[in-house]
C-alpha cells in the first residue's frame, strides 16, 4: 500500500513536471496568402518570431517556453473567424494576437470575446475594434482617430486650400476618411476637403487621376494599402498630378517603410509626405534597439513600425502571464487591463476609459511623426523628419518638386 502511494506520488510529480515544461501556446492570426495583405503578415511574423526567440533564449516565461501557432486568415473576415476559433478550441492557445487588417480583426474579436480569451490587436486601426468595448481586446497599436486628427492638424499647419483624399473601400480606409473629413472641419476650417473610395483590388485608377489633372488640388491624400496604393501613386505621378510643384502628396497609411516600397514606386515616392509611427530619430528603449538590430541582422532591411507593434503585442501577453503567474486566459486578461508595460516602443498603460469609446483599452497617446521622402530609394532613417513626437510641424522643412 505504501509502495503504491509512493508510486502514485512519483507519477503525479512527473506529470506536473511534464506540464511545467509544456510550451505556452499563443495564437497568431495573420494573412499569409492573397487576397490578404501578405506584406503586413510577413512583417508581423518577423516581429513576433524575434521576440519569441529572445524570450525562449532566457528560459521562457514561468519556466516554460512559448510556442507560436500561426493561422492564415487570408485577409478575409470569415477565415479570420475560423482561424481564431481553431486556435482557441483546438490549439488551446492562451491568447491570440497578430491582427493587422481591420475587417478581419472585427470578426476575430467576436470569437475571442465569446471564449473569453485575450486578443491583442497588433495593427487594426479601425476605431470600431475599440468601440465594441470587449474586455478581452487590447489595442497597443494605432487607431484611426489618432492618425486622422494628426493628419488634419498637418493639413491645417500647411494651410492647403483644397484637399482630395482617396481611401480604399475597407473598414480601415472608409473609417479613416470619414474621421479625417470631420477633423479637417475643426483643425483646418479654411480647407475644402472631399474624399473618394477606390477598390483595393483595382489595377487601373487612371480615370480617377485624369479627373484631377484638369483641376489639380493643393494636396492629394491616400489611405490605401499595397498593391493598390503603389499602382495609384505611379498613376498619379505618370499623369503629373502629384507630387508636383502645385500638389502635395500625403500618405496616411504609413507605407513608406514597407520593404517593397521603393521597388514598386521609384520616382513616384519622391517628395511624398508620410504619417509614421516609427522613425529612427524617435526615442526608443534599449529593448526596441535590440529588436531593431536583430531584425536588420536577419533580413538586411531597416525595421519598421509593424515589426515593433508585433513585438510589443507578444511582449504584452508574455508580461501579463509573468505578472499574473498564470496562463489562464481570464487571469491574463485581468493583468493586461491593469498592468504598466514597457515594451519596444516605450512605456504605457491601457486606458480604462469608456468615453470616448475608441479609447477603451487603447494606448491613447501612441507617438507618431511626419516625415518627407526627398530622394528615390531613400531609407526612412534618412528621410526629412518634419514633425517629431509631440512637436509642431516644421512647415519650412517641406520640399516640393521644381
Amino acid at each position: 500500500m505504501k509502495r503504491m502511494s509512493l508510486l502514485a506520488l512519483a507519477a503525479a510529480f512527473a506529470a506536473a513536471a511534464a506540464a511545467a515544461q509544456e510550451p505556452i501556446a499563443i495564437g497568431i492570426s495573420i494573412a499569409q496568402s492573397p487576397p490578404g495583405s501578405v506584406v503586413q503578415g510577413v512583417q508581423v511574423k518577423d516581429g513576433v518570431e524575434i521576440v519569441k526567440d529572445m524570450i525562449n533564449a532566457k528560459g521562457g516565461v514561468l519556466g516554460r517556453p512559448i510556442k507560436l501557432i500561426y493561422e492564415d486568415n487570408q485577409g478575409v473576415p470569415e477565415k479570420g473567424r475560423a482561424a481564431t476559433e481553431k486556435l482557441i478550441t483546438r490549439d488551446k492557445v492562451v491568447a491570440v494576437t497578430g491582427g493587422h487588417q481591420s475587417s478581419v480583426c472585427l470578426a476575430e474579436i467576436e470569437v475571442a470575446h465569446r471564449y473569453e480569451v485575450p486578443y491583442v490587436n497588433t495593427n487594426c486601426w479601425s476605431d470600431d475594434v475599440r468601440k465594441k468595448g470587449y474586455a478581452e481586446v487590447f489595442n497597443p497599436g494605432n487607431y484611426n482617430t489618432r492618425v486622422s486628427m494628426a493628419m488634419a492638424e498637418t493639413i491645417g499647419a500647411m494651410k492647403v486650400k483644397r484637399v482630395i483624399a482617396f481611401a480604399e473601400n475597407t473598414d480601415y480606409g472608409i473609417g479613416q476618411a470619414k474621421l479625417l473629413a470631420e477633423f479637417v472641419k475643426t483643425k483646418a476650417p479654411g480647407t475644402d476637403f472631399k474624399y473618394e473610395t477606390l477598390d483595393r483590388a483595382g489595377k487601373d485608377f487612371t480615370p480617377a487621376v485624369l479627373a484631377l489633372r484638369a483641376n489639380p488640388p493643393d494636396m492629394v491624400v491616400t489611405m490605401m494599402l499595397p498593391p493598390a496604393a503603389y499602382i495609384f501613386m505611379n498613376q498619379l505621378y505618370e499623369q503629373g498630378v502629384a507630387p508636383s510643384a502645385k500638389t502635395w502628396f500625403y500618405d496616411g497609411a504609413g507605407i513608406a517603410d514597407y520593404p517593397d516600397f521603393w521597388q514598386n514606386v521609384k520616382d513616384a515616392g519622391k517628395y511624398m509626405i508620410s504619417f509614421g509611427l516609427y522613425h529612427p530619430q524617435m526615442p526608443q528603449p534599449a529593448l526596441g534597439k535590440e529588436v531593431a538590430a536583430e531584425y536588420t541582422k536577419r533580413t538586411k532591411n531597416e525595421p519598421n513600425r509593424l515589426i515593433f507593434q508585433a513585438a510589443d503585442s507578444l511582449l504584452l501577453i508574455v508580461e501579463a502571464i509573468r505578472q499574473a503567474k498564470s496562463t489562464d486566459p481570464k487571469a491574463i486578461t485581468k493583468q493586461l487591463a491593469s498592468m504598466k508595460f514597457e515594451g519596444v516602443r516605450g512605456a504605457f498603460q491601457f486606458s480604462s476609459a469608456r468615453e470616448p469609446a475608441y479609447a477603451y483599452q487603447q494606448w491613447v497617446d501612441i507617438p507618431y511623426v511626419n516625415f518627407q521622402l526627398t530622394d528615390v530609394n531613400q531609407p526612412v532613417s534618412k528621410a526629412n523628419l518634419i514633425q517629431g513626437p509631440g512637436q509642431p510641424l516644421a512647415v519650412d522643412k517641406l520640399q516640393k518638386p521644381k
Binding site: 499569409q32 496568402s33 492573397p34 487576397p35 501578405v38 506584406v39 503578415g41 510577413v42 473601400n169 473618394e196 473610395t197 477606390l198 477598390d199 483590388a201 483595382g202 489595377k203 487601373d204 485608377f205 487612371t206 480615370p207 480617377a208 485624369l210 479627373a211 489633372r213 484638369a214 499595397p226 498593391p227 503603389y230 499602382i231 505611379n234 505621378y237 505618370e238 499623369q239 503629373g240 520593404p259 517593397d260 521597388q263 514598386n264 514606386v265 521609384k266 520616382d267
Partner: protein, 296 residues
Amino acid sequence: MLALDLLVNGLVFGLFYALMAVGLAMIFGVLKVVNFAHGEFYMVGAYTYVLVATRLGVPPWLALPMAAVAGAALGALVERLLMRPLYAGYGSWSIMKDEYAVVVTFGLSLLLINVVDKVVGPYPFRGPPLIETSRFALGPVMMNGQKLIAAGISIALLTGLALFIKRSLWGRQIQAVAQNRLGASLAGIDATRTTALIFAISGLLAALAGALLAPLINPSPDVGAFPAIKSYVIVVLGGMGSIWGAMVAALLLGVLESFFAVYVSYDYRDAFGLLILILVLIFRPQGLAGEKGREV
C-alpha cells in the same frame, strides 16, 4: 479635354483587355469550356518577365519574348496534361465535360497562385519598363511610355493574330476545328495538335499581356484575378468563341469603364463590367458577334 483623356485611356486598356481575352475566346471556341486558370497564364507571364529581367539581368526587350515562351509552354502543358481527357477517347467525359473543366482549371489556378506566393514571395513586384520615359505629352494627352509601347505591341499582336487565323493554313485549321471537331478530323486535320496550338497561343497572348503590364500594375500572386474577370465579361459580350467579337468587346469595355468611373462612380467601376455581362446574357445571350446555337 478630360473626355479625350478618358477615351485614350479607355482604348489603351481596352487593347490590354483584348490581349488577355482573345486567348480565352479561342479556347472556348474550340473546346466549349472555360479555362478558369487563364488569369494565371497572365500572372506567370508577368512574373517570368519581372524575374528574368530583375534577377537574371536580362534586358527587358529580351525578357518579353521569354515571358511569351513561358506562357506558350504553360498553355501547351495544360492542354496535354489536363484538358486532353476532354476529347481524346474518353466517351463518358462528354457528360461530365463542363464539370471536369471547371474543377481542373480552378484547381490549377489555386495551385499556381500558391506556388508563386511561396516560391517568389507575396510582395508586389514591379517590372522594369521597356522604355525609361515615365511620362510625356502626346498632343493634349499625358502618356506613360510603357503604356504607349504596350498598346503598340498589343495592336501588332492582335492584327497578326487576326491575319493568322484568317489567312494561314494553321488558322484555317483552327477555324475548322472550332466549327466541327469531328468534321475537321474527317477532313484530315489533326484536331488534337490544333487544340494544343490554340492553348499555346492563348498562353502566349495572356503571358505577353502580363509582361507588358508588369511595369504598370505591380504584379502579385493574385494579379490574375483582375484579367480573368475582365476576360469572362469580354468573351460573353463579344460572343462566346468569337475572336473578332472579343476584340471589339474589349475596346468597348475599356472605354465604357473609363467614362463610367468618372461620370458615374469610381467605386463600382469593376462592377459595371459585370452589370454589362448580366444585361448581355438577358437581352442578347449570343453577344455582339456570336451566333445562337445551330444544330444540323
